[in-house]
């Protein structure tokens, strides 16, 4: 009883409670509790490694900028602070109507704008500005996906289109105005009838040399622009993707700037806009549909970095091949895939931090007569559910950091690599996110169903990730397609592989020891060897299958489509190997011994779980049946070894308490009568 009083009093002591004269708000628990909450910090051993150093390694950059933005959000009522169980949480109110969520999202953007968050997001050049922007976007995503997407559409898609497709006249006119939100942009690419296949869009634009204007038209219902974020309520301008028809010749897809609303928010003439309606998540984003009824725009509004139309209506382009022109056009859009992959990782971290903290305080069933009930995470089965996902999240964090640097430091020579890496990681990381969210939701039991505990809601909010900016399955096919092309090129010219990390194919085939000992399984050499073995064998098999199909008279394309089973396995093999390589690289740069040892354990867990989960290892005989059983046993051991560090590992994610949820802390107090 004394203990309970103590706790309730401490809870109410601090400045958190501004209602200093209120009596109801400070009410204590009056009945004796059946269970009491013990913070995991009390029962867990002291951190064996420095959590701050681990956080720095994971977040990678702009730590103080990130903390500053967390501070900004916590201190504003716009971010919906709620006192639960003695702690403040900021989390959007998803119980608001769609309209309310959209309005509050826009107000939050205004607040961030007023406090200088977006400074230099479009006008800043160089590495530091780019990294700051990405760090801040990651922090915004931790609060709310809708907010991040609305900002992402405006800066990365609309702003990015102007930056990359436009030339000086567009930059001068639009960048600063967009950065200050004097205009609000959106990005009209997807249509009802065409999503991933951008080349097939039906919107058509012609040129009128008499007035020096382009005329944009939506010729049929399937050509209506669809899912355009920002279009339904707020956007004043859009970049429209459309076929360009000059003198009856289709020159392929081009991008045009079009105003769709005036400053007062009235829709412009010859534009029709409808709402996409309520969605399973992301309701703070006003997705809309747009029809263009022969909308006229000045010739200067063609974003002309790749191709232009002269005043008298001549089509001019430095790139003659329409395929290449399209490629040049699409290349900058990788930014979307990069930010999606990165945000998937942070969503995963939120759910794991909550579920693991909960599993360190929630007990169920005793396994001895009259004994204490057992902590969820002390069940080996619960460890097996959560800890491998934790290890994968670490591995994918390093892959995400690699992708980020590849993107920021991109050169024309690296465009192909960037395309393949971003496609692979966008798909793998977002799939991992959805899987982790579901597992964490279940691991929290009924509490996982409450919106305030975030995880369940995140499933709806993040589901879209496997679809937008390229369907995951389509992206993975592109990965195996690129690998096949690399293979064919190397074989045809009889030259070594030198791209896509396939250099290991030039060496002799790695040999996997027949007897796998504990130390072999945990050695980086074995781990990279077995991943390379799988990748090289699958690539060989895939190439043979495609060429056999071609030999039987199938076209290249249809031979590829028929080989989808191997293509899928291959895409995964490529991604896993890439992720492991980035992990080992990050690990090699660490000098601190406790940190390095911890990372070694996590790496082994990541690899062994991958071996256990991907049937390809058994199907194609990279592992014997006995070896697979050994791997399985080793995972159980790794779970037990990582278990004592679970708390420090999720603490290293660097997500402030306020952005987690009540069940991550004192869930008894948060659910007490007085709360």
């Amino acid at each position: 009883m004394e203990k309970v009083n103590f706790r309730t009093q401490v809870l109410t002591r601090h400045l958190l409670n501004n209602d200093h004269r209120g009596t109801a708000a400070t009410a204590g628990i009056s009945t004796s509790p059946c269970l009491s909450y013990t913070p995991p910090e009390i029962s867990s051993k002291p951190f064996p490694f420095d959590v701050n150093s681990m956080r720095k390694l994971m977040d990678g950059h702009n730590i103080e900028d990130r903390d500053w933005l967390f501070n900004l959000m916590i201190q504003s009522n716009l971010f919906n602070p709620k006192l639960r169980g003695g702690k403040i949480f900021v989390v959007p109110d998803y119980n608001q109507s769609m309209e309310q969520q959209r309005e509050i999202t826009m107000k939050r953007i205004q607040y961030l704008l007023d406090h200088g968050v977006f400074e230099r997001w479009l006008t800043g050049k160089g590495f530091d500005a780019e990294m700051r922007k990405l760090a801040l976007l990651e922090v915004i995503e931790i609060f709310d996906h809708s907010l991040a997407i609305k900002i992402g559409v405006h800066f990365f898609l609309w702003g990015g289109a102007i930056l990359f497709f436009g030339t000086k006249r567009h930059h001068d006119k639009w960048l600063k105005a967009s950065e200050d939100y004097h205009i609000k942009g959106c990005f009209a690419m997807t249509e009802l009838g065409h999503g991933s296949n951008v080349r097939g869009i039906e919107t058509i634009t012609t040129y009128d040399s008499k007035t020096e204007e382009f005329v944009i038209n939506t010729p049929c219902e399937s050509a209506q622009k669809y899912w355009i974020g920002g279009a339904a309520n707020h956007a004043t301008h859009t970049v429209v993707f459309s076929q360009l028809n000059i003198d009856g010749n289709n020159q392929g897809v081009h991008a045009f700037i079009t105003q769709i609303r005036d400053a007062d928010g009235n829709i412009c003439p010859n534009i029709r806009i409808a709402d996409c309606g309520h969605k399973i998540g992301l309701n703070g984003v006003d997705n809309g549909r747009i029809w263009f009824d022969n909308v006229r725009i000045p010739r200067e509004n063609l974003l002309n970095s790749v191709a232009d139309v002269s005043a008298d209506g001549k089509y001019l382009s430095a790139i003659k091949d329409p395929d290449q022109r399209f490629g040049a056009f699409m290349a900058p859009l990788t930014s979307g895939r990069v930010t999606i992959a990165l945000s998937a990782i942070y969503s995963t971290k939120i759910s794991l931090a909550i579920a693991i903290r909960y599993s360190l305080t929630r007990r169920a069933f005793s396994i001895t007569p009259n004994g204490d009930e057992v902590l969820l995470l002390d069940y080996p089965s619960h460890q097996r559910r959560l800890l491998p996902l934790l290890a994968k999240t670490y591995a994918m964090t390093f892959a995400g950091n690699y992708l980020k640097l590849l993107y920021v430091k991109r050169t024309p020579q690296l465009i192909k690599t960037l395309h393949v890496v971003s496609s692979a990681l966008k798909a793998i990381l977002t799939w991992h996110n959805m899987r982790t969210l579901q597992e964490c939701r279940e691991a929290c039991g009924g509490q996982g169903l409450k919106t305030e505990n975030r995880i369940g809601q995140l499933k709806g909010e993040f589901d879209v990730q496997s679809t937008f900016e390229g369907d995951n399955n389509v992206l993975m096919q592109q990965v195996s397609k690129a690998m096949l092309a690399e293979y064919v090129a190397a074989k045809r010219r009889n030259k070594p592989f030198k791209d896509l990390g396939l250099e290991h194919m030039n060496k002799s085939c790695p040999v996997i020891p027949s007897r796998l000992t504990n130390s072999t399984l945990r050695s980086a050499q074995f781990q990279i060897d077995i991943f390379c073995l799988r990748e090289r064998d699958l690539l060989n098999r895939f190439a043979i299958e495609v060429s056999e199909n071609q030999a039987q008279g199938e076209s290249k394309e249809s031979a590829f489509i028929v080989g989808y089973q191997l293509a899928e396995d291959l895409g995964r093999a490529y991604s896993d190997r890439l992720i492991l390589q980035t992990f080992i690289e990050a690990e090699n740069n660490v000098t601190d011994t406790p940190l390095k040892e911890m990372l070694g354990l996590i790496r082994s867990m990541y690899v062994l779980v991958s071996l256990d989960e991907d049937v390809a290892f058994l199907r194609y005989g990279y592992l014997t049946v006995e070896a697979a059983a050994t791997v399985r046993k080793e995972i159980v051991k790794l779970c037990a070894e990582i278990r004592p560090h679970a708390l420090s590992l999720v603490s290293s994610f660097g997500i402030p308490d306020a952005f987690l949820s009540p069940i991550a802390f004192d869930w008894v107090a948060a659910n007490s009568w007085s709360n």
Binding site: N5, N18, R21, E64, D67, Q75, K87, G116, A669
Partner: protein, 383 residues
């Protein structure tokens, strides 16, 4: 019924009264405005520790004799230690003081602090972590550390960062003085009453015989009133404060204030800029980062971090502003400290980073906080 214990010499710096289930501790160094000496901190820690276990004690009242509640820590003694080349001795003072702050913050019985006068620095640390903080018309609150070459310590990165908006940054960086009404408005005080009613309040509390914060709160309410904020109160400027003091860096905060100053002539803005420009540039950067990190941490983690920072400051390896500030403000009183680095833009991130790192000195240990098996979750930090 009342008894005053002053069994051995040093302890009469803290007077102890036992009234039924209440213990009244009075800080008793009025000439030094009750600045907390090492002996006082030690004694308070003893008293709080023993009362925690004594089930006959239900409530603690802490107050000061004379015109101050407590004007701060005994910085002069610390500077003496440093000048004798013994930073470790000075650091031991802070170790004890921060431990006391932690014990108060996680205490199992309500602490009512009667803030009838000056509350600065260490005095804030001895009161703000307790449940009830009673201000009067005589209250005068400030965290003046940046002018001394230090930074708001004693857990200030915890309690300042939890004030509305960015008021905490304003108070911590400029050393702005607040009166009782302002303390109540921003939440530093939980109650306000006129000084003349304090005796009655004490008597009522002594009769309460309860540890229930609801009971205590309603008793204090009976004597309380809601004072009007003075017209020129900085709390009226919360909008400007939020606009400016939310900025990412000290440089940007000053620039934002200067922009506001251009838009409107305002003494408050110019005096805020003045305070910032007079303060130690290193202190400003340390303080801002400390408050920003504090907002994301629990009280324990805040104190551990602040202790590291204090040790770095005492060691003088990053800057000697602390000894210089104490010389200029407390000893020579020429009020003209020569800060080094002298300009904000000369204080590099690397310099500040070092002050947040573990102290690497033979056998030197981080602050070890007493274990609390029943610690509330808010008091815990993850990072």
């Amino acid at each position: 019924m009342a008894s005053i214990s002053s069994t051995y010499g040093e302890t009469d710096q803290v007077l102890v009264e036992e009234k039924s289930s209440v213990r009244i501790f009075t800080l008793n160094r009025p000439k030094q405005l009750n600045a907390l000496s090492f002996a006082m901190v030690s004694r308070l820690l003893e008293l709080f520790t023993s009362c925690a276990e004594d089930s006959s004690v239900k409530l603690i009242i802490l107050k000061g004799r004379g015109r101050a509640f407590c004007a701060g820590g005994d910085v002069a003694a610390v500077v003496r230690d440093i000048s004798q080349g013994n930073w470790r001795l000075g650091a031991e003072y802070f170790r004890k003081e921060f431990t006391l702050n932690y014990v108060m913050a996680t205490y199992n019985k309500p602490q009512v602090s009667l803030l009838d006068g000056i509350v600065m620095g260490g005095g804030a640390g001895a009161s703000m972590h307790g449940r009830f903080r009673v201000a009067t018309e005589n209250s005068l609150f400030a965290m003046p550390e940046t002018a001394l070459g230090l930074f708001p310590d004693v857990g200030a990165s915890y309690f300042l960062s939890r004030l509305p908006g960015f008021f905490g940054e304003y108070v911590g960086l400029t050393g702005a003085r607040l009166d009782g009404a302002e303390m109540l408005a921003c939440g530093l005080a939980t109650h306000f009453l006129r000084s003349e009613r304090l005796t009655l309040l004490e008597e009522a509390l002594c009769k309460a015989n309860s540890s229930d914060p609801r009971v205590i709160s309603s008793i204090i309410n009976e004597f309380s009133e809601v004072p009007n904020l003075k017209e020129k109160s900085s709390y009226h400027k919360l909008k400007i404060i939020n606009r400016c003091f939310s900025r990412r860096t000290i440089e940007e905060i000053i620039a934002a204030l200067e922009r506001e100053g251009v838009q409107r002539k305002d003494d408050w803005i110019s005096s805020s800029i003045q305070s910032l420009k007079k303060a130690s540039p290193t202190s400003l950067k340390l303080s801002l980062r400390s408050i920003r990190e504090g907002r994301l941490q629990g009280i324990g983690k805040c104190l551990v971090r602040e202790f590291r920072m204090v040790c770095h400051v005492l060691r003088g390896e990053v800057s000697k502003d602390f000894t210089e500030g104490c010389r200029a403000i407390l000893l020579d009183k020429d009020k003209n400290p020569k800060w080094e680095p002298s300009k904000i833009e000369l204080v590099t991130d690397e310099l500040i980073d070092r002050c947040f790192s573990k102290v690497k000195d033979d056998g030197w240990e981080d602050l070890q906080l007493p274990v609390r098996s029943d610690l509330a979750s808010y008091a815990i930090a993850k990072l």
